[in-house]
């Protein structure tokens, strides 16, 4: 099996509504990733595009719609989609193409333009609920997050103040990210003073809807070592799916993340993730989700992530295990698949020491990114190392 590395990364700004079309955003990120790798499209063997439901764009076979922008025409091209987990699954998909020996280079592009969906992209999400036994109740997407957060809090006795601190940390971290949509200096009090959307979820605990794209170039070892002196190795990959009978499992713990994480750690030779991982980019579309996912990633004991957060353990400056140094979805923005890919890009920049004002000190060498999606049951995990 070939070793696989990330050799270039590129990103657009994340904004509420972008002037550019979806293919134009894809192209901007794809070209930036190629430029970063010092490569051109003719050096790319295959193209992977990650993007969320066709319903966002109102375009059937969105993969084909985006392919011009991601350089997919005339090449082996696949669109992959596993809900919100897509952004971290797309590089796993590319890893399969490369590790198998079938191809030597891959361009991996993730794009989302949520603003096209009117009046609000939430409408595109409603169909995740069971058509016969749930949709007649008039659900909306906030329900499942609020239900899950409430369960997580109830089982462990966690307070909303503890959870609001995630928003404070990530929105502050995002102030150092040039793509960020919602970087801000806030207090826990301000987060909890924001409007209650679906108790216990307040507005400032929710990531925004966004337009944006992010991309990486990946290559097998023989090519990676030629094109860069600083390849970032994909050392572990894992993915898992839990039951869609979501009212039959306990929402307090993301079992699917643990399964995916154990798979990735085993491949990466990591035995004690809480000690061996230097940087984490867990998926944080909602504030509690970062804590929930840190536990699923085995980076905090069950129910203990809030205490570690309060102790500064996950801070970018001075924390033992900086979490979401990018600013995460809460701060940088949440163009679904592009948000997951933004986390992969962050690992690339952090491990190469190129993260600028966000750079984690102490030469981090091992990092993990994770995304999650569907009806709260998809986990995708990538471990990178230098």
């Amino acid at each position: 099996m070939s070793r696989v590395a990330i050799v270039g990364a590129g990103i657009t700004k994340f904004v509420r509504r972008a002037k550019e079309t979806a293919p134009e955003l894809s192209w901007a990120a794809a070209k930036a990733a190629l430029d970063s790798a010092g490569m051109t499209l003719d050096q790319i063997d295959c193209v992977i595009h990650g993007t969320a439901p066709d319903a966002f764009d109102g375009v059937h076979m969105k993969g084909e719609y985006l392919a011009s922008g991601s350089g997919g025409w005339g090449k082996p091209y696949t669109r992959c989609y596993v809900g919100g987990g897509t952004g971290v699954f797309a590089p796993i998909h590319a890893w399969m193409h490369l590790a198998s020996g079938k191809f030597k280079t891959a361009l991996v592009v993730c794009e989302e333009k949520m603003s096209s969906c009117q009046p609000h992209p939430q409408g595109a999400f409603i169909t995740i609920f069971d058509h016969t036994t749930e949709r007649a109740l008039g659900p909306n997407l906030l329900w499942i997050f609020a239900l899950e957060q409430q369960r997580y809090m109830a089982v462990h006795g966690i307070t909303n103040e503890e959870i609001a601190l995630v928003s404070v940390k990530n929105k502050r971290n995002a102030m150092g990210h040039p793509s960020a949509q919602l970087g801000a200096e806030l207090t826990v009090k301000e987060v909890l003073a924001s409007e209650v959307m679906a108790h216990p979820v307040h507005r400032l605990m929710v990531s925004p809807t966004s337009d944006g794209a992010a991309a990486v170039v990946m290559a097998v070892e023989s090519v990676a070592k030629k094109v860069t002196r600083n390849p970032v190795w994909v050392e572990g990959v894992g993915w898992a799916l839990d039951t869609a009978f979501w009212t039959n499992r306990d929402l307090y713990y993301p079992r699917y993340v643990e399964v995916a994480a154990r798979m990735a750690y085993k491949m990466a030779g990591i035995r004690e993730p809480a000690k061996e991982i230097h940087i984490a980019e867990p998926y944080d579309p909602f504030a509690y989700k970062e804590l929930h996912h840190l536990e699923g990633l085995l980076l905090a004991p069950k129910g203990k992530a809030p205490k570690l957060l309060a102790d500064g353990h996950f801070n970018r400056d001075g924390g033992r295990l900086p979490s979401c140094p990018s600013g995460g979805l809460l701060g940088v923005g949440n163009p679904i698949s592009a948000a997951g890919m933004m986390k992969i890009c962050e690992l690339f920049w952090q491990l190469r020491g190129e993260a600028g004002p966000r750079q984690v000190k102490g030469k981090p060498r091992k990092a993990v990114a994770q995304a999650w999606g569907d009806l709260m049951q998809v986990g995708t995990v990538v471990v990178c190392g230098v």
Binding site: K19, A32, Q118, G123, H131, E134, L137, P178, V196, N248
Partner: protein, 166 residues
């Protein structure tokens, strides 16, 4: 990292002042979902004012919603079970917003309700009613409030909501 490229933000003024053009489309898509035998019976029983589930004798689970096969044991499901129509709140929310971001003065109270008679932790999504939102707690005992028989249609909404047990 390099400076991000494109992702040029548009503002409300850009639209109001006619600086940008858009094309719009409102699809009208209609679907009619078949229930399958298990959910079909689930709905038929709801119409009769009964809440039912099904068992798997291999893993000894009693699940709701009922299904035709056990997805864990990968074998056909077995017996039908009638539940008493009571349960407890596993988790809940007070939701002040609709799917299209309209605000609600009185919250909807969605909840996962663990159903008495089903396996530990097995519940359904439904709504709470006849309750002060401030009084709702995880672990609260609740019972189904049914629509009057003539109004029942064989739908999950034949249960109006769940209310606290007296």
């Amino acid at each position: 990292m390099m400076e991000p490229r494109l992702g040029t933000p548009l503002s409300s003024e850009d639209f109001e002042q006619g600086k940008v053009f858009t094309e719009s489309y409102a699809p009208k898509a209609e679907y009619a979902w078949d229930t399958g035998p298990s959910i079909g019976r689930y709905l038929a029983e709801l119409k009769e004012g009964r809440l039912v589930g099904r068992t798997c004798r291999a893993c000894k689970r009693t699940f709701i919603p009922p299904r035709s096969f056990c997805e864990l044991c990968f074998r056909p499901a077995d017996d039908w079970v009638v539940f008493p129509g009571t349960g407890k709140v596993n988790t809940f929310s007070l939701c002040y917003i609709t799917w299209d971001m309209r605000k609600l003065k009185d919250p909807q109270i969605p909840a996962v309700i663990e159903i008495d008679g089903a396996s530990e932790g097995h519940g359904i999504l439904h709504l709470l009613g006849n309750v002060d939102p401030k009084q709702v707690k995880v672990g609260m005992r609740v019972r189904a409030v049914w629509k009057p028989a003539p109004e029942r249609a064989g739908a999950i909404t034949d249960i109006l909501h769940w209310e606290p047990m007296p």
